[in-house]
């Protein structure tokens, strides 16, 4: 199944418009998967603004699109400046090492801590992507 061109175009638009873009299961206020929740937790600790897209309504078509764009089909996926950084494992590793703060050009929060429960301060919620 080739990627839906309209959906792919919309994803490319979102990547261009959002310096930090998270494809996740659920929303930052209500994540629907443990891995997605952990990535939200990391972003909240870093205090960065990010776009969040709930993949659940469009899961299979979106896997095809990200498979073509970034050769990666599982979620969550964190993109920074249009490039795929990775899923939960990579985000947590880079957070702990300080690389993520550096990439995002923010200060590394003092002390390494386990991800706090998400308390969205100013999550930028993208409207749900629609097909067709």
């Amino acid at each position: 199944m080739a990627a839906n061109p309209e959906l792919k175009r919309k994803v490319e638009e979102l990547l261009a418009e959002n310096r930090v873009l998270l494809f996740m299961k659920g929303t930052p206020e209500m994540p629907r998967c443990g891995f997605s929740m952990r990535v939200v937790g990391v972003l909240e600790q870093l205090g960065v603004e990010y776009g969040a897209v709930d993949v659940l309504p469009i899961l299979d078509p979106l896997r095809e699109v990200t498979g073509e764009i970034a050769d990666w089909r599982t979620f969550p996926q964190l993109y920074v400046k249009g490039d795929l950084v990775g899923g939960c494992d990579i985000v947590e590793e880079m957070f702990e090492s300080g690389e993520l703060a550096e990439l995002l050009e923010v200060e590394q929060p003092g002390g390494v801590q386990a991800p706090a429960p998400p308390e969205p301060s100013d999550p930028h919620q993208s409207p749900p992507l629609q097909l067709g």
């Binding site: 891995f35 599982t74 950084v85 990775g86 990579i90 590793e93």
Partner: protein, 67 residues
Amino acid sequence: MIAEALPGAEVEVVDETGGGDHLRAIVRAPQFRGRTRIDQHRMVRAAVQSKMDDGSIHALSITASPS
């Protein structure tokens, strides 16, 4: 499967839930040297893609490092 795709790798697979479908793969491989984390993860995923596609693995966490 991972060891076959990455000769010389040290591989440990942990079943995170006891149900056989949430796995953690801990992989140290010479093939990872000089590669970004996402590329290292792509290599591990490619080795087990058939099991992800048929649903026998629901979630795969990866800890990868060059050896």
